[in-house]
């Protein structure tokens, strides 16, 4: 159900932390958090107030997360990533900047500057409490009382304005290998209970024309009718890069496609879905993707990212995470169990359940949630866009357009009835038997040509022999 246990996550993170720590040993010991206000949001602005409430992408604020010594320890990095997620849910852009590296411009543009680490951080001295003409607010978080305390402090600050963001529901890892009937049953059940949902689709870029794939596409289209909104998941088999593994080791698709670039593969998958009348709104994956150089290129094509699991622990490069600008929906942590990771009310959150989860457990869990008062917002009201090459899919105020016109899918024209065509024009659509027959006929033709040549010669010679015989 939830992807990785805390202990597993910590175990992996601690390993990576040693290397990352060594890499950063020569850097400034001062770290921080910041949120930078986006200057030009690629997202269309939302209109109706109601839609704004349900559309986290409508905000245009930036946060700056400044850090110092927090990056030096494993626990500190975890705190930073958790704070980053919390800020991501409420701010469309979050920049991580080492203390001392920030510029005045960054400070001026940020609506919220979060200083991680507490009163002991040296960089705090260089952060002015206020800048003339900027609306930014400085929040110094203390970690001396632990992780949870820092998160709670940030949550309280974020919730100061009293804004409450919606909670979403998501079906993860929807793929062709599932039991389609069960999948449809879950979709119908969600529809009957008025739960709109995101559905994370596995990217598919090969064998998209097969019969079983068509059945899969039919099922996903039906899920869309049930209130499902597609998100493009991570590449099948892909795992975030590990410092101890080959970077590409996780690509199962290698050799099956004409490229192993995530950007190109994801583009192919997106286009394949769009051509089938399935319109992904954004991306979905573990938050680590935000910090991966390869995925940074992918994420540039869209403006919506929905977490489907906890942080996997692969923090490689905070620049990548800082670069992306768009709507971010964090994964709803089980805060009660972990004692931290509580998302503020101001942040949207997503409850993600695997599509392969047994149906009964699936229903029971959601029923419990509904009984406890949870309500799930309609993801379709979240503004977003996705583009690849010349094609653009835009959702604005619940209206979907593809390349500027309302997206309405028409079933493809049935293939021409090749049975009425002469067999020669059927071309590559020949069955294996028919191909064998055709090849045999070609061989037979060559043989018959040889026989005809031999017989003609025999006939001419035979006539000559006969003539001489009777002349004797």
């Amino acid at each position: 159900m939830f992807r990785l246990s805390k202990w597993k996550r910590w175990a992996r993170t601690s390993g990576i932390g040693v290397v990352v720590g060594m890499m950063l040993a020569g850097a400034s010991p001062v770290f921080g958090y910041s949120v930078v206000k986006p200057s030009q949001s690629p997202l269309p602005a939302s209109g109706a107030q109601q839609q704004q409430a349900a559309a986290p992408s409508s905000r245009s604020d930036e946060a700056l997360l400044v850090y110092g010594r927090e990056w030096l320890t494993q626990e500190g990095r975890e705190r930073l990533t958790e704070l980053y997620r919390m800020l991501r849910g409420t701010h469309s852009k979050v920049s991580l900047v080492r203390g001392g590296d920030f510029t005045e411009g960054q400070l001026r543009d940020a609506e919220l500057i979060v200083a991680a680490g507490g009163a002991g951080e040296e960089f705090l001295k260089s952060l002015p409490s206020s800048l003339p003409g900027s609306g930014r607010q400085l929040l110094a978080l203390t970690t001396e009382q632990g992780f949870a305390a820092a998160e709670a402090q940030l949550a309280a600050a974020l919730d100061e304005n009293g804004k409450s963001s919606p909670e979403f529901f998501m079906l993860t890892d929807v793929n062709p290998f599932l039991d389609m009937d069960e999948l449809m049953s879950k979709g119908k059940w969600l529809h009957e209970r008025g739960i709109p949902f995101w559905m994370e689709l596995r990217p598919i870029f090969i064998n998209t024309e097969t019969e079983s794939m068509q059945r899969y596409y039919d099922a996903v289209r039906k899920l869309q009718e049930y209130g499902g909104l597609a998100l493009l998941g991570t590449l099948g088999g892909w795992t975030p890069p590990d410092e101890w593994e080959s970077f590409r080791a996780g690509y199962e698709v290698t050799g099956a496609t004409n490229s192993d670039e995530p950007e190109q593969l994801s583009g192919q998958a997106w286009l394949a879905y769009v051509q089938q009348g399935i319109y992904p709104a954004g991306f979905s994956g573990p938050p680590d993707l935000m910090f991966d150089r390869e995925w940074e290129k992918v994420l540039r094509h869209g403006s919506l990212f929905v977490e489907q699991s906890e942080w996997q622990g692969y923090t490689r490069d905070n620049e990548s995470g800082s670069g992306w600008e768009g709507t971010y929906v964090p994964f709803e942590d089980q805060a009660e169990q972990r004692g931290h990771g509580l998302l503020p009310d101001a942040s949207p959150a997503v409850l993600a359940l695997s599509a392969s989860m047994p149906e009964e457990s699936f229903r029971n869990l959601l029923n419990d949630k509904l009984r406890s008062g949870s309500a799930y917002a309609d993801p379709a009201l979240t503004d977003s866009f996705l583009h690849w090459n010349d094609r653009q899919l835009v959702r604005r105020q619940g209206v979907l357009t593809l390349d500027g016109v309302p997206a309405v899918w028409q079933p493809p024209e049935p293939p021409p009835d090749t049975s009425s065509l002469p067999p020669e024009t059927a071309g590559d659509q020949l069955s294996t038997v028919n191909k064998g027959i055709k090849m045999t006929m070609s061989v037979l033709f060559v043989v018959s040509v040889l026989v005809v040549g031999f017989f003609v010669a025999a006939f001419v010679v035979g006539r000559q022999i006969n003539r001489r015989k009777h002349l004797r």
Binding site: S448, V451, F459
Partner: protein, 420 residues
């Protein structure tokens, strides 16, 4: 979507496979026949024997007044020691002047050992096999020769056959060639002339060259008396007695050689109804023989005749059914009622099949003096669409008669070919 083949496609495929299997077999046989033809050019079959065996020539005759005089005259003129030759005409329950003609011939040539065995409805009238059994019963020759009542053998015909038989102990019988006497009568006889030459140079000569097999054609052949004795005479239930006796000779371990230098000329049907009746009898008779011997396919002792069994089975069952089916598919296709999805250039392949057929026949014609002229090649091309298609009618008719007689338990009736 891949094109999936339907029932019509598989039927069409069956036709193509059967037709091309037969075509390929005939290509091989033609090559064998051609090789044998080249061998015959070097043969010296007229070298005399030290001692000639006695020969009884059997001529079954039932109401043969139109042709019997010419036939017996030709037989009396055979180049064979008169003291070793016995001509037995079985005047089998004739109601015409056959007996009178034979009596006259007897009187005109008292130097010839011409014997006439006259039977009536009680003692004869059992068809060709019965007549041959009657003639064989009174014959004395070490070798038996058989000629049909409408035959005109060349003078050397019998001697060549006997020379060949005596010089090879492994031979149980030797068959000669038969030519069409009335070729120029009409289109039908021209077609028959081409057919008989094609059959003999391709099927007979080719099988002999490649497999040591031949089928006795019913006339112009010699067979060892000892073999007829061992087999107890001709099978009176077989109306294709020639094919039937061939299989029995095979089973005794003997071979039957085709000797094309021994020639007889015979009269062929001049009208389609007569031709259909005669050929239907052949088909019916051959089916009987095939079914009688089909079990030999699975015995080791008869492995040397397996090819013949398979060949005739292919001709009468596979080829016939496929030819009928392909014609039906062709006609239904023209009417737009069916269509096939078989890939490949079937039209081109069909044209090649036609070309191969014409050339096979042309090669056979090239082995006979004056037969390979362009007009005859034209006849071959036309035959493919006419005469060959008529064979389908004959084959179906023969099958029908066989099944009908088998169900009604009718005794096989021997149809005597009408003479002209």
């Amino acid at each position: 979507m891949e094109q999936q083949l339907g029932v019509v496609d598989y039927l069409f495929l069956y036709c193509m496979i059967c037709i091309w299997i037969m075509l390929l077999i005939n290509i091989v046989l033609t090559a064998g026949g051609y090789r044998y033809y080249l061998k015959t050019l070097q043969m010296r079959v007229d070298e005399p024997l030290d001692e000639y065996p006695s020969v009884s020539v059997l001529i079954p005759a039932h109401n043969e007044e139109k042709v019997i005089g010419q036939t017996v005259s030709a037989l009396m003129a055979l180049d064979y020691p008169a003291d070793k030759l016995e001509i037995i005409v079985i005047n089998d329950n004739s109601s015409d002047a056959t007996g009178d003609i034979l009596a006259e011939l007897q009187q005109s040539r008292p130097d010839i050992n011409l014997r006439v065995l006259t039977t009536d409805a009680v003692t004869g009238g059992k068809g060709k096999s019965g007549a041959l059994n009657n003639g064989y019963a009174i014959s004395k020759g070490e070798i038996l020769a058989v000629y049909d009542a409408d035959n005109t053998p060349e003078r050397s015909a019998l001697k060549i056959l006997v020379h060949t038989l005596v010089r090879n102990d492994r031979l149980g019988a030797v068959i000669g060639k038969f030519r069409t006497r009335n070729t120029s009568k009409n289109w039908l006889t021209r077609f028959i002339n081409i057919e008989t030459l094609g059959f003999q140079w391709m099927v007979q000569a080719g099988r002999w060259q490649l497999f040591g097999l031949c089928t006795i054609p019913g006339t112009n052949f010699v067979v060892r008396r000892s073999l007829i004795e061992r087999m107890g005479g001709w099978d009176t239930r077989a109306i294709a007695e020639d094919t039937e006796i061939s299989f029995r000779i095979y089973r005794f371990g003997y071979k039957i050689q085709y000797m094309p230098l021994s020639v007889t000329w015979e009269q062929e049907p001049e009208t389609v109804p007569v031709w259909i009746k005669q050929r239907s009898r052949w088909v019916k008779g051959n089916i009987y023989v095939l079914l009688k011997n089909i079990k030999l396919l699975f015995t080791r002792e008869s492995k040397h005749i397996r090819f013949d069994l398979l060949y005739f089975c292919s001709v009468y069952f596979l080829f016939l059914s496929s030819a009928l089916l392909s014609d039906a598919i062709f006609l239904l296709g023209i009417l737009g009622l069916v269509e096939y999805k078989i890939a490949g250039n079937t039209l081109l392949l069909w044209m090649m099949a036609f070309l191969v057929f014409v050339l096979e026949m042309a090669i056979a014609l090239s082995m006979e003096k004056g037969q390979s002229r362009p007009r005859n090649i034209g006849y071959v091309a036309i035959m493919y669409f006419t005469y060959c298609q008529m064979w389908l009618v004959v084959a179906v008719n023969g099958f029908y008669q066989f099944i009908r007689d088998a169900i009604l338990r009718r005794e096989a009736r021997w149809y005597k070919t009408e003479r002209f």
